[in-house]
Symmetry: C2
Subunit: 419 residues, 2 copies
């Protein structure tokens, strides 16, 4: 007995037959004696279709109107799923973000949730009703419709679970859980039974597409036990994402991932003057461009440095505008762009205080003949920039080096292998 929040993505509700199956999965949880809140995304390709129409109207659709348009996708899903649950004899009610009170800041297309009203949700739960909530959308205190951006429905679900102090938030998707790496690249990748918020967060940031980082962050913040599981294999228990202290078993490296969505920009021959590097990154930050890896090469004879950094491909044009302006200002010689890169990362809560892990990573890559262009690290993650063509080779080498290939057994905490 408790409150369970379930979230079903677009592929899970792609057509009316699938919606009926989702209704069964929802009712199964209700039959377990739980209060159930379901968060759904737009059906299959609905969002793409709406975006296509907007682009037929204008190449630069207004972001407020785009949110007004896209929010309809989820509203269709909640109505149909509610009908399907009712048709199976269970009381259910749909609610859009305005009706729930999913309050966001007033930033269109990527608003952050600032508050979730729980009074109406609790009223319906008290009546024994299953509540079907539109994901991805929010509303400002002034009644403007917003959307939450990529991974928005996951974030809606986790935030509702947090607000209601739910017992668990289950993210239903088309994969069976979180894997040690992408099974399409490494067929012997293994599904993880559990992973910590911190590891999942890093994995999400470095290319694992199972969950959007924002939803993991929110789960960590509210300590919502999160689970990723398959809509189509309900017998599978999926992967639990929980606090690191709650984990029973883990490996020093939980997973390996590659991110192919970045490009590297090199500003060449930057005069070695205090503040020049800061100026570059300050201006980029002012324009909302996230810089990921940074490296500065010292020691040219001419008292200049090359400053290299990576940004998302989607920020390419904005970045170049800014960089070209800076070059004139600080008298750098030019800019190089390298699109041919991949960032491969290993993530694991067990690498804290284990400097040997980094050395093992570099050695494994070297043995696979892979040159490392840049490195960045956090407490539980090490990322190396490599040539894009070598990305898969790197992933396979690291997966093997860190004993993640299937048929290796997980290691009980306190008995870490010497990697």
């Amino acid at each position: 007995m408790g409150i369970i929040v379930q979230k079903f993505g677009g592929t899970s509700v792609a057509d009316t037959e699938k919606i009926k199956n989702v209704a069964s999965a929802v009712i199964r949880e209700k039959k377990n004696g739980n209060d159930v809140i379901v968060v759904v995304s737009a059906m299959g390709h609905t969002t793409d279709y709406l975006v296509k129409m907007a682009n037929e109207i204008t190449s630069r659709p207004n972001s407020r109107e785009m949110d007004m348009l896209l929010a309809t996708g989820e509203q269709v899903s909640i109505a149909l799923l509610t009908m399907a649950i009712q048709a199976q004899g269970y009381a259910a009610v749909s609610m859009n973000a305005m009706q729930v009170g999913i309050i966001t800041e007033c930033v269109h297309s990527k608003a952050r949730i600032v508050d979730i009203k729980t009074n109406k949700l609790k009223e319906h739960l008290d009546k024994g009703e299953i509540i079907v909530v539109a994901g991805f959308q929010g509303v400002t205190p002034e009644g403007e419709i917003t959307t939450l951006g990529r991974g928005g429905s996951d974030t809606s679900a986790v935030a509702i679970a947090g607000a209601l102090n739910a017992d668990r938030c289950d993210i239903y998707t088309d994969v069976e859980g979180v894997y040690t790496t992408d099974p399409r690249i490494v067929p012997c990748a293994t599904k993880l039974d559990e992973i910590s918020y911190e590891e999942m967060l890093e994995l999400a940031h470095v290319g694992a597409n199972v969950l959007h980082p924002r939803s993991v962050e929110t789960a960590k913040q509210y300590q919502v036990p999160l689970r990723v599981r398959s809509t189509f294999k309900l017998e599978d228990t999926g992967t639990y994402i929980i606090g690191v202290d709650d984990m029973e078993i883990y490996k020093p490296v939980a997973g390996v991932a590659a991110d192919l969505s970045q490009i590297r920009i090199v500003v060449t021959e930057v005069p070695d003057k205090p503040g020049n590097a800061a100026k570059i990154f300050e201006l980029l930050s002012n324009s909302d461009i996230s810089v990921d890896m940074i490296i500065q090469s010292y020691g040219r004879s001419d008292d200049t440095n090359d400053i290299a950094f990576t940004v998302a491909k989607t920020d390419y044009e904005k970045t170049m505008e800014i960089v070209k302006e800076i070059i004139r200002e600080i008298h750098a010689s030019g800019v190089l762009v390298d699109e041919d890169i991949a960032k491969v990362s290993i993530v694991g809560a067990g690498m804290v205080d284990r400097p040997g892990i980094a050395a093992s990573m570099f050695k494994a890559l070297a043995e696979a003949g892979i040159n490392i262009k840049m490195i960045s690290t956090s407490e539980i993650k090490i990322s190396c920039l490599v040539e894009k063509g070598q990305s898969n080779t790197a992933i396979k080498a690291l997966h093997t080096a860190f004993h993640l290939d299937a048929k290796e057994t997980a290691v009980v905490m306190g008995d870490l292998p010497d990697v």
Copy 2:
């Protein structure tokens, strides 16, 4: 300079190209120096598509969820039309019913508007923005989404025009205005330059599909000057629907229409006892079934009457359930159903105090060899029930008899012809 409300139906916004054309029509009105509010329906077959999906889920979709589902259609239209207006360089903003505050009673699928909040509308008009409002939908004081039923968007537009005391409400559609009768049946039907609310109301009730009766009623109530015009022929001025006192010219019979949507039910051999007829119509009324024409045949030798009445075909099953119950209760002998009927009507403010009109109608029908099954009249309308197969013949005969065929000239008031 004034406030103009424009309404565009589903065929006018059927695709993105058409939406761009609508944007031009909107801007044209704005360029005339007016404040403009546009009310739009869902695109083309969107509503049909949504209904189809609901029916795939369940044969009896919940009406609250149906409203939640259908309301998305209009929200898509307002976002796209607003983008199209902005793309042509004009400030515009979309608003759904919840944002405007189109308050309705809490009856799903056919709610009536009880109030329209004007404060937000006025705020946007004051900023010089064109406002694009979702038609067909409303919201209850508790925040539940409702829809207004058939002709709902027309009603939304007229009600907004009334609330804002607008100078005119233009209903854009795929016909050029209101005709003396259906031009598909009578090719020499003529477009009316103006018609009174009362006449339009009767015409709408007896089969002219240009406007829904509820929107005309609302226009009459708030004395909103209404105009029906073509989206596709903007040079045409359409038909003005105005107060009868404001009309300059009219004919005794403004229009002729046929309604093929009814069936006739005859309850046979009803014992001639006070209250029996009342019982039938009271029970039908309690079940929300509108009875149109009623005739009771007196004078059987056995002290029974046949009671005949017409109802909408869509109410057939509900009606029969009730009638069969009544038959048992009042000891009538049985029930006959006649689907083969058409109601042909003539409408005109000029027929008040002119008993000759009815006689002319019956004579014209008789000369065309048409038998009249039932008759009903109001101050400005006479309807005759005829065989369905004779409907078009009846319409043509009446159109000619009342001098409505094209090339006849309209008659100045006070100089009525002797029909």
